[in-house]
């Protein structure tokens, strides 16, 4: 369950992003565009970062030998809000001196720290996956349960609708749905919009599987018993039938989270999701689409690596859960 441990770490870091990030996500260092990653070195008992000086004209930097500052822990820096409530200025690490910045993953075309933006972006990218899954799977389970339980024309209508949604290639449908929202929304509205769009598409496949399971479950004796005891249809579905599908649902949910994360990434990447200056893994990668940037400043691909690690961890966890839930072997 290495995947689970990585995910716990990622989500913890996302939760405390403001504290772990050395700088604010909007903070621009106008003297240091495309600053290369600074790697701390061990000097005596301290980790030190060298000072970088720009070469003439282009964005090329050289470390100045002998001129360095030690990294301190719990230093004061940019203001941020922990959990969106508590205002704080203490950061996990930093030099506390503006002339000796710690850019572990370099800076982007506006001189913003890539690592800090990556951490702030993880709050959006990681939470969209989980919230999206919760919403669409709850909805999908309810619809699937109703469809399988009542059968007849309810079932036919719902299943045709599912087929309709599933027969459109996902991204084409996502873009059509995106068109129905007005431009110029606030960050929070865009965030909600992405979740709504992704959930609108995601429930269909879940509903189909749950419907199939419900079809066989409703013939079982305990359902008959529940009915005989006078429980309502809704209660039978929610209390008796759906809990039997949980082991499948949990595995499927874990393996589906990556699709939601990638959905946000693609939308933001194409410029129709989270907008600048807010950070998300998708809109950070937009800068890397410029081949000139990409060739000279490859650290702009860092969000891609973060996505890869997250997806890998979810796949690991999902596979592990599947093996655990599979009682046959």
């Amino acid at each position: 369950m290495l995947g689970g441990e990585i995910l716990i770490l990622l989500y913890l870091v996302a939760l405390f992003a403001g504290f772990v990030a050395p700088y604010g996500y909007e903070r621009q260092d106008r003297d240091r565009f495309f600053h290369p990653p600074t790697w701390p070195r061990l000097s005596g008992l301290h980790l030190v970062v060298p000072r970088y000086e720009p070469g003439n004209g282009s964005f090329v930097y050289h470390a100045v030998t002998g001129d360095s500052k030690p990294i301190h822990f719990f230093v004061r820096g940019d203001k941020y809000k922990l959990f969106g409530l508590i205002t704080a200025t203490v950061h996990l690490f930093g030099t506390g001196d503006e002339n000796y910045p710690v850019y572990l993953l370099g800076t982007d075309q506006f001189g913003r720290d890539v690592l800090s933006r990556l951490l702030y972006g993880s709050q959006i990218s990681l939470s969209i996956g989980v919230i999206g899954i919760l919403l669409s799977f709850t909805f999908g389970m309810m619809i699937g349960g109703i469809s399988g339980y009542f059968s007849g024309w309810t079932d036919t209508v719902i299943m045709r609708l599912c087929e309709l949604i599933m027969s459109i290639p996902a991204l084409y449908l996502i873009i059509s749905l995106r068109a129905t929202f007005p431009p110029g929304m606030s960050s929070a509205q865009v965030y909600a919009m992405i979740i709504i769009i992704l959930s609108f598409i995601g429930w269909a496949s879940m509903a189909r599987v749950i419907r199939g399971m419900t079809l066989s479950l409703r013939e079982q004796q305990f359902v008959l018993a529940a009915r005989a005891l006078g429980q309502t249809h809704l209660k039978v579905i929610v209390r008796h039938i759906l809990p039997n599908t949980f082991s499948y649902v949990i595995v499927a949910a874990t393996l589906s989270v990556p699709y939601y994360i990638l959905g946000e990434v693609v939308l933001s990447f194409l410029g129709v999701g989270i907008q600048e200056p807010s950070a998300s893994w998708g809109n950070m990668l937009t800068a890397a689409q410029n081949t000139e940037y990409l060739r000279n400043y490859p650290w702009l691909l860092a969000p891609g690596a973060a996505i890869f690690i997250t997806v890998l961890a979810f796949n690991f966890l999902g596979d592990g859960l599947r093996d655990a839930a599979d009682t046959k072997s």
Partner: protein
């Protein structure tokens, strides 16, 4: 067999109708249209805009628009692209062909590599080849298309071995046919490989597990007990049964391929349907967006139909149902 195929074919019609209706409804819900930006231009009089709107039936409710659109589609006319100022049919056919080329080549690369590799891994179960393939599959499943496309772009830009974006070189029109063909292929290869790579891992894993399942079956043991050679047992008896479940994921893999193509086209500037959709989306050319979505769905539905055909061909039980 024929009635099965006929039924599947007939099933496609309400589906495409439903898809076009749904996208039309969505586009009608979209705030503003192509003429919203034009109306802010003081040089264009409100009368002209009203006139143009009436010409494209944009002043009517969406279901009336849909009827007009549907009528012209039945006559093979996909309307007029307001943003490109040319008939949408010619625009779409070219882009559709590009997307088809890209997806088809990716399909061949992915399946051509994944099937032999999956079989190889299953036959040599637990060897270092199998382990290597599993690791590769796991990594491959987790690399997002976005990252892979960007890496390919980086590769193309820094080595200069492949052109960066586009479907043809700047001097394409002046080239002799053989060179034109090479130019097109040269532009196509890298996007196709990227697209194939994202699909490859899943198919390979599936092939391996299917073959392993059939190798455990009793008739395989029986075949071995009769003294048949290992090659005959695997390729004649086991593989032919293992291939059926693989064919069922063909349609599924196609859906992933088309969505993947959307990303690859937009990042690597391959002029296909996905890129056209984004361009039409930004220009608020709503009819063109509908056309693109319907076309992409059509591509997927036809692909699924072919998957059914293949399945019916390889598994007689389905034909008889």
């Amino acid at each position: 067999m024929w009635s099965f195929l006929f039924k599947r074919l007939l099933h496609m019609i309400p589906l495409l109708l439903g898809v076009s209706l749904l996208t039309f409804l969505l586009m009608s819900l979209a705030p503003g249209d192509y003429f919203t930006t034009l109306s802010q231009n003081p040089q264009i009089s409100p009368e002209t805009i009203a006139h143009l709107k009436a010409r494209f039936h944009l002043d009517q409710p969406w279901y009336v628009q849909y009827c007009y659109w549907f009528k012209s589609v039945l006559q093979g006319d996909f309307g007029y692209s307001m943003a490109y100022k040319i008939p949408a049919t010619s625009l779409i056919i070219g882009r559709l062909w590009n997307t088809f080329l890209l997806s088809f080549l990716a399909l061949i690369i992915a399946w051509g590599i994944a099937l032999p590799l999956g079989i190889w891994a299953a036959v040599r179960k637990d060897s270092w080849i199998d382990r290597g393939c599993s690791l590769f599959a796991f990594v491959g499943l987790s690399v997002p298309d976005v990252l892979l496309s960007l890496l390919a772009l980086w590769f193309a830009a820094s080595t200069g071995w492949f052109p960066v974006g586009g479907a043809q070189g700047a001097l394409y029109d002046f080239m002799p046919p053989a060179q034109q063909f090479w130019d097109r292929t040269h532009h196509l290869i890298l996007p196709a490989i990227v697209l194939a790579a994202s699909d490859l891992a899943g198919i390979m894993r599936r092939m391996r597990s299917c073959l392993l399942d059939t190798l455990r079956a009793e008739y395989v043991t029986a075949a071995r007990a009769r003294g048949l050679g290992e090659g005959l047992v695997i390729y004649k008896h086991a593989l032919r049964n293992a291939i059926n479940p693989i064919l069922t994921i063909f349609g599924y893999s196609l859906a992933g391929l088309l969505s993947g193509a959307f990303i690859v086209e937009n990042i690597m500037a391959w002029p296909g349907l996905g890129r056209l959709t984004m361009e039409a989306f930004f220009a608020k050319d709503s009819y063109l967006v509908v056309d693109c979505v319907v076309m992409a769905t059509g591509l997927l539905v036809i692909g699924n139909f072919i998957a059914d055909l293949l399945l019916a061909w390889s598994d007689p039980r389905i034909r008889l149902k």
